[in-house]
Symmetry: D2
Subunit: 135 residues, 4 copies
């Protein structure tokens, strides 16, 4: 199992007139958590794309338990529970500074070739960096 967490400060741009983070904006928070978990592993999503592999999202689920508010310093915990093969599944928990669980989510992503847009396997260096967490 692989875990990582990142902190994200809620921007005014993220709020809506209800005074909550707009429900569509968590997808970008989840993206930041995924990308930073890659970086922590010594991997770069940017370099992955430059090497010809893209990771489009196949599925997104989000449960909104409590609202995130303007200027909240959110902690996004990201978990990979199963060693990925042709797809990779991430789970997310969003907490505020008071430790309240605000939002849970999950995304499933594929690996595709940048030119052909056909599915490919997870790149070997990514597999090597992840595998120690699943032994």
């Amino acid at each position: 199992m692989y875990h990582h967490q990142v902190d994200i400060r809620v921007r005014y741009a993220d709020t809506d007139q209800m005074g909550y983070v707009y429900y569509g904006n968590y997808a970008a928070y989840f993206e930041v958590a995924r990308v930073e978990s890659f970086r922590q592993l010594g991997f770069s999503y940017k370099k992955l794309e430059e090497a010809g592999v893209m990771m489009p999202v196949l599925e997104l689920k989000t449960k909104y338990l409590l609202p995130a508010l303007y200027d909240d310093l959110l902690t996004i915990k990201v978990t990979i529970r199963e060693f990925p093969k042709v797809k990779i599944r991430y789970e997310y928990e969003v907490m505020n500074e008071a430790g309240q669980l605000l939002t849970t989510g999950e995304t499933t992503l594929a690996f595709i070739h940048k030119e052909t847009r056909k599915p490919v396997r997870m790149p070997e260096n990514m597999a090597n960096l992840l595998s120690p967490y699943f032994e």
Copy 2:
């Protein structure tokens, strides 16, 4: 069962460097479909809020089957399958002009009081406008 559909043109702002509509932006498309379905019924989400009832989203699910592309004229079909009580569940299908099903989604929303932020029942005038579709 209640059905409605709206057309939305993909903006450049909605795309990402993959050349696809960013996965977080469908939430706003779903919002437009919900709000316009209200308007078609003779109801206004804006007036609902002015009358003290807000509808935060409790849950979002999205499946990305094929990418929506820049300048695509998307059709968003929205369906309410069950007559809502304290929650309302919407299903969405996003199609492009070629009739390809690109994305499916669903959202569950609550009714809450604007000041207390406590759950309330669906407003009666909304219930009256919806009920003919569920007889």
Copy 3:
């Protein structure tokens, strides 16, 4: 002088907790006005890019006179005052349904080659479609 206007409904996603359209979101409204003015001329920005020419924005100015509010049906008037050569300058006026002028703006865009990212002249077919408005 070339004029065009489009209507845009303010989405909940566009608002912020002040209850106004977030100041950064007008840029996307201006983009819609530009692109639809192209379409009205019989031109497609999408096809322009497919033909290898992109139009990045060089400069943006916006004055916020009155706030645009949720669910407002905005009219965006777009004007090209001078016949463009290597750059194209657009002016915008945003009005609400009451006819109040909410926002004014202008953008200057370049024409660049998609691969080299170097400046190019305005494509000839675009020049031909625009020139009758500047005689």
Copy 4:
């Protein structure tokens, strides 16, 4: 003169299909720079709003010199050149890790009362925190 700077990582959500940060997204970067400059001063924009004062943007100018790209770690330098009275003017410079100046901008903001939405003077505690930089 007051200076502050913040770092912002470009998200995938911020890019467009040109592979650049979408021109409308710099407004949110500028907002982060403003808010963090407040925090560095020992001031909180959130608390300002809670105390009944809001700061809507009156004017925005942005010049796009070079594109910001996905995953760039941008530095946003924010400057207040003149001691503010009824309006506050910020200047911005956006640089990438290579030290290239990508974007310059400026915004002018007002102070208004949250309920009346009428202009008010800059709050005294904010004036006190800023004044040492203008002596």
